[in-house]
Structure formats: C-alpha cells, structure tokens
Symmetry: C2
Subunit: 154 residues, 2 copies
DNA sequence: TATTTGCTTGGAGTGCACTCCAAGCAAGCG
DNA sequence: CGCTTGCTTGGAGTGCACTCCAAGCAAATA
C-alpha cells in the first residue's frame, strides 16, 4: 500500500465566505461552541451529525465533552459545501462511510462526487433558465410602472 | 381504485423532462389528469395548491370536476420555475394574492420578484464555488486512481 | 344493469433535516 | 458553598412540501 494522505482530505481555506469566524491559528482542540462560531451550524446539528455518522469519531475530554480538531473543521467545511448544493444527508453519510473505509474506496468516492457534480451543473442550468423568466417578468412590471409614472406622476 | 394519483402513468408520452409536453392546440379546458400530464405535478399537489391559495380560482364542470385553462397552465409553469429556484410556497402564495388583487400591486410584485432574482443569483454563485471544490477533490481521486493504475495495472 | 374509471373531499400521514427539551454533570467564580 | 455557564444525553417536536387515504359520486363501458 502506497503511503498517501487518505482520509478526510485537506480542504484548505478556500472560501470560508458563508458564515463563521476564521480559524484561530495554532489551535487543534475546539469546544462545540467554538465550532458553532466557526461553522454557523448549531450545537444540536453538530451532535446530530455525529449521531447519524456524518462526522468521523470526535475526540472527548476526560469529562466527556467534545473536542473538535482542525481536521474535523475541514470535514465540516466540505459537508457544508455539499449541503449547500442540496446533497441529501444520506449521501453525505455514505461518503463519510467510504472515507472511514480507507483508500480502497477512492474509486467509489470519485464516482459519487462526479455524479453529484453533474447534478450541480444541471441545477445551475435550471437556475439560469429561471433567471431569464424572472428578468422577463420583472421587465414587464418595470415597464408598466414607468408607463404609469409617465401618465400619472405623483 | 385510483391508479394514477402518484405516478403519471399516461403522463410521459413525450419528454417529461423539464416541464411537461407541448400543450394541445385549440384547447382551453383541461381535466386534472391532463394537467398532471402537462406539468409533471401529481393530482394531489394540484388540489393542494388550490387549497392553499397558490392557484387562481379553477373552473368546474357541472359535476364539480376541475377544468383548467391555458391561463392556469401558464401560471403553473411560472410556479414550477419559482419552485425550482427554491422559493418557499408561502412566498408564491403571497405572489398569487398580489396577482388576485390586480394592477395596483404591480410595484410589490416587481419587488418580490427582484428580491427573489437576487437570491437566485447568489444561489448560482454558491453552486459555482462548490463546483470548484468538487473539481478539486475529483481530481485528487482521479490522480490517485491513475497513479495506482500505473503501478498496479490489472 | 353492473363494473370500471376518473374524479371529488377533509383530514391524516410521510420524509427530510433539523430543533428543542428535560434532566443532569462539571468547572469557574464571588 | 451556591450560582452560573457550558456541556452531556435520548427522545420528542417542528416546519415544510407534499402524499396518501377512505368514502363517495358521475359518466363511460361491458
């Protein structure tokens, strides 16, 4: 087996645009509320993600409190992206399982992602075609408004 | 026994692809099953739309069966578009109310649509940024696959 | 005439993705 | 020590958008 960085891959700081603070540097153990601040998810949702198997095993303190790592945060960033594109939670859980199973699932992971990418592309096309309808109707209303303003100025 | 309530059996004569098939020319009174065939919605959903006020008043036969007009079909096309873009049903109902109230709501309708158009644009941008992440990860997996194929050809 | 088909209704049920609750434990602070 | 804050749990509840059900009626077909 070739030694390759396998598991939850590194999702580098790509956007971080949506919600959340930048990650404090040099830290690698985050409480649940820190993760809430970073991701914009609720603590409920984070615990729920763990329960349904959407999170890799999360570390705990000696008193049982969760301590998330940077790797966990990377994973949540990816999950957030997939969620934004409307991937069903069940599919994300499936992906998480594949990641847990290690390198021999690379092909299946690639396929899952490729299929999803196609869905996203279709979705974008759909939205763009709706945009045209929206533009058309907005113009109709705007024209009507301008016409009425011309004839009946307030 | 009602057979065709959920699966538009007759429905996919032609492309059930994006939205229905071409409207028969010269007709202006469609039964619910014809509308099912055209729109891809279920009869349940059509009745539900009417109940919640998402449809303008639908005409009836003397025995109480619905007869949809071309105008209704146009409306459903628009609703379908808005639905595709994720506009909440409540907002579409609001829009329907404005339409019922007549011309004096033009400005408000324009605003509603403009706001929504902005949402759609943001959504597209979001999806496009996710596409980049997807591309990146798919490439990681594809590279790994190509590498393993080179060293360990089957 | 008898059966089948297509439609009607109000209300109940489903699936998804959270979202919240109640009870309880541990640590920090005055 | 008592109080507050932050976290824990399993299970129940919420909101959305359908989705289905059961009973029944009218028209068409056998």
């Amino acid at each position: 087996m070739t030694v390759m960085e396998s598991a939850p891959v590194k999702a580098r700081k790509h956007c971080a645009g949506s919600v959340g603070h930048p990650r404090p540097t040099g830290q690698d153990r985050y409480s649940i509320s820190e993760v809430v601040a970073h991701t914009g998810l609720t603590a409920h949702t984070l615990r729920w993600y763990e329960r349904i198997g959407l999170m890799p095993h999360v570390d705990r303190t000696h008193t049982g409190q969760r301590r998330f790592t940077n790797r966990d945060l990377d994973w949540l960033d990816l999950v957030g992206k997939l969620r934004l594109t409307g991937m069903p939670v069940a599919d994300m859980v499936r992906y998480a399982e594949l990641v847990r199973q290690g390198e021999q699932t690379f092909a299946e992971r690639e396929e899952l992602l490729t299929t999803h990418r196609e869905n996203v592309r279709e979705r974008i096309a759909e939205l763009q075609s709706t945009l045209e309808v929206l533009d058309f109707k907005i113009n109709v209303y705007a024209d009507a408004r301008r016409a009425s303003e011309r004839f009946d100025p307030v």
